[in-house]
Structures are given as structure tokens and as C-alpha cells.
Symmetry: C2
């Protein structure tokens, strides 16, 4: 009984040593045929490969990671994977690094600083080879231990004070400016904006303001309202706007979800879009083409952002690039559809 138990009790996977002993060589040799780091005679290699196959050997990656000090895993920390923007970004990243054999470890922070810090530490301790940080614009809150400075970081949408940090930032300001001047060029006079919460999305507001100035449109304070990025928030902000003495005839929303909320209000009030009121969003999420009429918006290149983050990361991990932080900015083109 205890014997048969022991026989079937191969609780641990087969190790490199077992392969070696079966092939009649040393573990070193097995390792070398696996990695190809040193030449091994073809005959020997054959024996080893045969043994590997017969035993069904698979290398223990954890052990390898410990020895080589790299995990072939990268962490992506986002506010919420449920948010399509971050889901797409994550996918872009995953696709970019997958071919090189890197896995992706995702962390949801809900935008809370302490969770950001926690996951950051966690990822570091787990020995990830790189981190892409897409958790809002609060990135600068994180501080680094000495040891953390070894690991490359990519920051999306913001800069970060770290020696090995590259940034990829969608050009929010130019995109917003394009949206706002488009509205002006269409002849809309009383253009309003639903911004993000205080301290967020400053670039989008800046782009809007700059376009208004260029188009010689005055924007009284009551036409600059705020939402919390959600559909509901947009709904309420739009309500406030529509309750104004002089109603805006166009509104630029800092993101699509809020624009959809604004659209809800228009429908509710029986306003026709874009005749009575024009609406432009930002992000170009899937839902933008689902709503009726389809939402005119600015495309936020999530997939590309994730992809270039992956590329930047890999260029550092491979040692191909070592140097100061790079910044790549991605264009955010205006997508004309039905709401403006």
C-alpha cells in the first residue's frame, strides 16, 4: 500500500534531474539543450530530447525565474478592467508582448491611491519584468524604493518621476481642440462643456478653451459644468445645462459615457440631435456607435496605446534601449458621426 502510494505519488512534476538521469547525462547538459546556450553533441541532444518527451518534462518556471531574475511577466495596473477603454488597452498590451512570451498580470485599483501603491509593490515583489501604469492621472502619487528603480515602467496618459519611465500619452488637448473648433465651424454659437471631476482631464478642458478662444466664442462660467465620467453624471450635468436661462446649442463632453448621459437628457426633453443641440464625446468607445444617432466623438487610441506601451517596455527589457525616459504622444482624431 505505502509502496504503491509512493509510486503514484509523483506529487511534484518531473525535474530536470530526472530527465538527466534517464538520459544518462548531467542536469547541466539538459539545461543546455533546452536553452541552446552552449553546444551539445547531436547524439546527446537526441537522447535528452527523447528523455524529455518520454517523461513529459516541463521546466519549472518559478525556479527559472528565481535563478534568472526575470519572470517574463508584466503587470498592468488600471482603474477597472470592466471599463472598455482599459480592457482594450490591456488587450493591445497583451497582444504586443505575448509573442515575446510575456504574460500579463492585471490589477484593478478603482483609482484609489492606496490600491495603486499596493499593487505596485505587489507587482514588484512578484518580480515582474515591467509595469504599465494606466491608473488615472494620479500616478505621480507613487513613490519608489531603491530597488524598484531597476524595473522599467510605462506610464499611460501621464508622466512619472522614475529613471526608467517612458510615457505614452494620447494627445487629449489637440483632440479636444479639434472637436471644439469643429463645433464652432459648424456655426454653433453657445457651446458648453461637461468636464471631468476637478483635477482630472485638464488637457481636454484646455483644448476646448483654446479652440473657443481661437473661434472667438465666449464661454461663460455656467456653461462649464462637471460630471464624474459616468453616464449618470453626464445626465445630471446635461440637465443643469438645459435648465439654463439661455440654453447651449452644443455641448462637448469630456468622455463618451457622459455624452451618452447627455443624449439621454436630449431624448427625454424631446430635443432633436443635432438640430436642437449638438453633442460631441471623447474616447470612441463601442457604445458610441450603438446610441442613436451615432455619437460624434474623438477617438482615444486605447489599443495602440497598450501596444506601444508594450513595445517600449520590451525595448527596455531586452536592453535594446537604455536611456532617459521617452515620450510618445498618440493622435486623437475626430470621428464625425451623427450628433454634431
Amino acid at each position: 500500500m505505502s509502496r504503491s502510494e509512493a509510486a503514484s505519488d509523483q506529487r511534484s512534476r518531473v525535474t530536470i534531474a530526472q530527465v538527466a538521469s534517464r538520459a544518462g547525462v548531467s542536469p547541466t547538459t539538459v539545461s543546455h539543450v533546452l536553452s541552446g546556450k552552449r553546444a551539445v553533441a547531436v547524439a546527446t541532444r537526441g537522447t535528452v530530447i527523447k528523455a524529455i518527451r518520454e517523461l513529459g518534462y516541463r521546466p519549472n518556471i518559478v525556479a527559472r525565474n528565481l535563478r534568472t531574475r526575470q519572470s517574463h511577466m508584466i503587470a498592468v495596473v488600471v482603474p477597472d478592467i470592466t471599463n472598455p477603454f482599459y480592457a482594450v488597452l490591456t488587450r493591445g498590451l497583451a497582444d504586443a508582448v505575448d509573442a515575446a512570451g510575456h504574460g500579463t498580470y492585471v490589477c484593478n485599483t478603482d483609482g484609489q491611491h492606496d490600491r495603486e501603491r499596493k499593487f505596485f509593490q505587489d507587482a514588484m515583489d512578484r518580480g515582474v519584468d515591467g509595469i504599465v501604469f494606466a491608473s488615472g492621472e494620479t500616478a505621480s502619487q507613487v513613490t519608489f524604493g531603491e530597488a524598484d528603480k531597476q524595473t522599467p515602467i510605462i506610464c499611460i496618459g501621464d508622466q512619472l518621476d522614475h529613471p526608467l519611465c517612458d510615457a505614452v500619452i494620447p494627445d487629449d488637448e489637440t483632440g479636444s481642440r479639434a472637436a471644439a473648433s469643429f463645433l464652432a465651424s459648424r456655426g454653433y454659437q453657445r457651446i458648453a462643456m461637461i468636464q471631468g471631476p476637478p483635477h482630472y482631464g485638464a488637457a481636454r478642458t484646455a483644448g476646448f478653451r483654446s479652440a473657443m478662444q481661437a473661434a472667438k466664442r465666449k464661454v461663460p462660467a455656467e456653461r462649464m459644468v462637471r460630471g464624474d465620467w459616468t453616464r449618470k453624471g453626464g445626465y445630471e450635468a446635461m440637465k443643469a445645462l438645459m435648465a439654463l436661462e439661455v440654453r447651449p446649442d452644443a455641448v462637448f463632453c469630456a468622455n463618451d459615457l457622459m455624452a451618452i448621459g447627455a443624449l439621454d437628457v436630449a431624448h427625454e426633453l424631446g430635443l432633436s440631435v443635432p438640430q436642437d443641440v449638438a453633442i460631441v464625446g471623447f474616447d470612441d468607445v463601442d457604445a458610441a456607435t450603438i446610441v442613436t444617432p451615432r455619437l460624434t466623438t474623438v477617438r482615444n487610441p486605447a489599443y495602440e496605446a497598450g501596444g506601444t506601451a508594450g513595445d517600449l517596455l520590451m525595448s527596455r527589457m531586452s536592453g535594446r534601449y537604455t536611456g532617459a525616459g521617452r515620450t510618445v504622444v498618440l493622435p486623437c482624431p475626430l470621428i464625425e458621426r451623427g450628433t454634431a
Copy 2:
């Protein structure tokens, strides 16, 4: 130069040995204060903790994983994180296991069997503590090595032939039946269905058929068409349906995306929903409430599925449960909105 280099060259993080030497104790003791697995005198513990703090020591998780043979990481393999259903499921899982200190490693398979297998192996080799497999209904394609049988697996939406495999399956059939009988009870006569691709979503079709039989509605073959789960696929399927000699007056779609595509057709044809044609979907994705009119659909409890998958996994990982595969089925309630 070389000296100062060596000084700043603390390439590796501080180890438990350094802490031990600074505190004047053995690594063993440090480990014990960290894990609490054995008592250590309060004075000693104080010294150790002080040393830890002064040095900024953080344990090397990779080394720990190697020794303890567990990674506190679980893998979730999904077709596409970009699909809201899987994003939500993943989030439910992450939230469930996060508190216990488990990270989540996500793999996108795009539903391709070879990628499923690849990621499965990859996850195993990386030493994850558990896997939740949500990649379609093709799960049964995967085969296991002897060693893989040690790791618990949760299968979502399907069963899997593995000794330690639990399943959580949304009750597609009952949900579909509810949707279809609802349609019948509303008096619709010529009820059609847009199914998933061949071999997929069989339960949803079965529920539909069973309800039709119970309601004594005949469903001629031309009223059972297929889409590929996408909006476009739904669009085309609906086109075919509307081109029929006798038009259906209601159509049940196997998922929301296809339902939205169907809705596109209705709008295009100037048909009013639900007067001219009723539409019911399945999944209750966010977009279901964005479309006009809002989509009547069956709720697919993604978040809960992820959460219970996490719970089942943890009960096994902790050793609290060891035993045959459990199956928990989650109800899929009908959500009445505007399209039926």
C-alpha cells in the same frame, strides 16, 4: 570608481540574510517573525522588525513561491478581455480572490484551441494555484498531463474532464425558456431565433425550443438562423429573417450583440420595435440599456460567475474542500425593458 559603483550597485534587493545579520539573528528567526509559524521572543521580534524597516526589506516572492510551491496567483483564460462579459467576469473573480492575496493572470485565447492549450500549459508551468477556464464551450478539448491534476480548475459554462474541476454554469436553458415563453405569452405568433454558430450555445437553443413546444408554436426551419455572436452577424441574420415570405413578429437572439444588430435592421427598415417586431437578447451587457428602445434581455450573471468561481477555487486551494467536482448553476433572470 569601482568601489562607489559597488556601493550603489545594490542590484539585488535586500535579502532576508541581510536583515538577519543586521538584527544579529539567523535567517530562520527572521522568517519566523515574518510568517508567525513559530514563536519568537518579543524582544527579538522587535529587533528584527526594526531591521526590516530600516533596510526596507521586502520578501522575494519568487523565492518563496519556489519553496512553498504556491504562487498566490490564479489564471483566468478567456476568449477576449475586450468582450464586456468576460471583463466583468474577470473583475468578479479578481474581487473575490484579491482579499486573500491572490493575483490574477489573464490570457486571451480568441477561442482558438491551440491558444487555449498554450495558455493552459503556460499557466501550469508558471505554478498558478488555480485556473478558471472561461474560454467558450470548447474546454473539453484540453488534455492534462499527470502533474496538472494537482491544480484545481474551475470551468465556467461547461464541464471538463478533470478530477479537481468544479463548474459554474449560468442556467442558459432556463433563461432562454423564460425569454421565449415570455414572447409567447405576449401573444407573438411567428417567433424566430438567431442562434450562435454551429456547436455553440446549444443550451440557449434548447431552452427556446422547449418553450416553443410548450406554447404550441411551430418553428419552421427558416426561422432558425445563425449569427457569429457579433453585431454584424446579428445584422445579417436579421436581414435574412426580414426577407422571409412571412415575416417573424418576434425574434429571440442568443446574445445581446446580435440583438443589437437585429435592432439596427429594424431601424433601417423603419419597423417600430416592439410593435412591428419584438426583440429579446441574452447577456444583459451595458449596451443593452444604451440602445433605443432599451433591450429586453436575459441577464447572464458574469460578475457572480467570476465571484463564485473564485470562492470555489479558494475553498480547494485552502484545502477546506477536497472532493469530487461540484457544479453550481446560476439563474439567468429575464429583464423586461422596451423591445418586447
